[in-house]
């Protein structure tokens, strides 16, 4: 699939679907080491995103669409994830500029800007057991893939695989940011809900880029 605004729409649609399906799993992860609302928060946000995206003109650019995701998440999600993910999409939109189609470099720029947005707002470092632990491996893997000449879709696939690994790798960590940081050692053994949801978002991008918009 060409990574144009049609793809962005598909990606968003797919994300909304996946987050709705995974809503309880994500909230359950959050209940373990947080306050149990992460899945609910994102499902609410992406339900609003889906509705607003449906009302945009057909010629909206990728950046316009991604920015709409940003402002919608900021105004509907709340909690920590709302401003963090919202800023990720906001910075990602800025990185897209007025391009109508994303090449491999643009994909890397999008992911990098998104990750930087999260870090800008949340000040988390790698290993703090946050969503950054999904985004940073994704950015690194995407950059490496692009470097070695991969297609945009394959760049996203590399990013998605790395994000999934990154999310899984939060399990043994002690949290140093967000609500899970209050648990100390008791957070060990639990996956960070925000890392998991970020991995799902990046995987949705890869799946739709590969044209494999299959129902899960």
């Amino acid at each position: 699939m060409t990574l144009d605004s049609t793809w962005v729409r598909a990606w968003i649609e797919r994300t909304a679907e996946v987050l709705t399906t995974e809503r309880h799993t994500l909230s359950e992860l959050d209940r373990q080491i947080g306050d149990g609302d992460h899945g609910e928060n994102l499902a609410r946000g992406f339900a609003a995103v889906r509705e607003r995206i449906g009302q945009t003109p057909d010629d909206a650019t990728p950046a316009t669409l991604v920015k709409l995701v940003a402002t919608t998440l900021i105004s509907t999600v709340g909690g920590a994830a709302g401003p963090l993910l919202g800023t990720a999409y906001l910075k990602g939109a800025a990185a897209l500029g007025d391009a109508s189609e994303l090449d491999a470099r643009a994909v890397v720029a999008l992911l990098t800007a998104a990750r930087d947005g999260v870090v800008l707002r949340g000040k988390a470092e790698t290993g703090d057991k946050t969503m950054v632990d999904a985004w940073t491996p994704a950015v690194d893997a995407a950059a490496a893939a692009a470097e070695s000449g991969a297609t945009p879709a394959d760049v996203l696939r590399a990013a998605a695989d790395a994000a999934a690994e990154g999310a899984a790798a939060t399990e043994p960590l002690v949290a140093r940011k967000g609500r899970a940081s209050y648990l100390g050692d008791r957070a060990i053994g639990h996956r960070d809900p925000g890392a998991q949801s970020s991995s799902l978002i990046i995987t949705a991008a890869a799946d739709t880029a590969a044209g494999s918009n299959k129902e899960s």
Binding site: D35, D37, I74, G82, P83, G178, R179, Y182
Partner: protein, 333 residues
């Protein structure tokens, strides 16, 4: 899960509507975006105070909207900080031209959303100052955590700041007094059983039959440790010493002693705890000059309580004593 609700998705909207209807003499409720403001409009030249956060901690914050306390409260979904939109709308609705103080409990979500709202308000020409409340000594304030949490002490800060604004202090003074209240206030809580978030359907945590969560947060976040249940006198001693050690309370100090119920604790248990805490303080030569006992910052139907101590000086005492007329705290009017 058994709850007296309709659709979990409607819990906050319906509760806020009921609150507005029951207290129409005190507040006006805005729906979409959701916020609660004082019935009378902003007083020109008077500092306005806005607070908010996830729902489920009632009467915090809407119960403290009214004369002498908050100008507006912004309730988010249960245990989820509100987004910037309603915070901004509340800010615009109550600004009287003298600026707006945000009282924000120190949680990543609250901090980020109020921060964004403040940026947007400033862009609209409204001056905003923010004060973070982080009174919970259960969590160490270190580089390795999100910092101490804001819990029951928030009520004290809102009362002090509200009285300061009501007497006509300017924004810098109101903010400074709020920060002084934060600096003088520490809390710590304990839970016997967690509340259940409506859309989650399961308790936030499950404890054994003889287990307590010592240092619990108001969203059911864990605290220092799980430990065996003890007689409440022993629990109070642990909570109080954690609080007074951190605050550095010493003989000769005058304090406000605040025993807060988490929502599902019978009032007799709160008073039994208060009794012991007051005894311990007076044994240490500390004067309990003011008291507050009741459910003020809850965690849904959590069974448990927290102890808050504020070190009082003359000005803080005067502001604490000032008239207040809100749904949950009323005195002198």
């Amino acid at each position: 899960m058994k709850k007296l609700i309709n659709d979990p998705a409607d819990v906050v909207a319906e509760a806020v509507a009921g609150f507005g209807a029951a207290h129409a003499d005190l507040v006006v409720v805005s729906h979409d975006p959701t916020f609660v403001r004082r019935a009378e409009g902003p007083t020109p030249g008077r500092v306005a105070i806005v607070s908010g956060g996830g729902s489920g901690h009632e009467p915090l914050h809407a119960g403290f909207v009214g004369y002498g306390m908050l100008s507006a409260a912004v309730p988010g979904p249960v245990f989820t900080s509100p987004t910037p939109d309603p915070i901004l709308a509340a800010t615009s609705a109550v600004d009287g031209g003298a600026g707006v103080l945000y009282i924000v409990k120190n949680y990543t979500g609250d901090v980020l959303n109020f921060e964004t709202a403040a940026d947007l308000a400033e862009a609209d020409g409204i001056t905003v100052e923010s004060v973070l409340v982080d009174d919970d000594v259960a969590v160490k304030d270190s580089l390795f955590t999100a910092g101490r949490r804001g819990v029951a002490g928030t009520v004290v800060v809102e009362k002090i700041a509200g009285a300061s604004a009501e007497r006509g202090d300017d924004l810098a003074t109101v903010a400074a007094l709020a920060r002084r209240a934060v600096a003088a206030t520490r809390s710590m809580g304990v839970a016997l059983a967690a509340g259940t978030v409506p859309h989650a359907g399961e308790p936030g945590f499950v404890l054994g039959d003889d287990e307590i969560e010592f240092g619990v947060g108001i969203h059911g976040e864990p605290g220092r440790e799980r430990m065996p249940l003890e007689p409440v006198d022993a629990i109070v001693e642990r909570l109080l010493s954690a609080v007074t050690d951190d605050l550095g309370v010493a003989a000769g100090d005058r304090v406000l002693l605040f025993v807060n119920g988490m929502g599902g604790t019978p009032s007799i248990e709160l008073y039994i705890a208060y009794r012991r805490a007051a005894e311990l303080l007076s044994e240490q030569g500390v004067t309990v000059a003011r008291s507050l006992v009741g459910d003020y910052v809850t965690s849904l139907e959590m069974q448990g309580l927290s102890i808050t101590v504020t070190r009082l000086d003359d000005e803080l005492t005067e502001l604490w004593d000032a008239p207040v007329e809100t749904a949950a705290l009323r005195r002198g009017r």
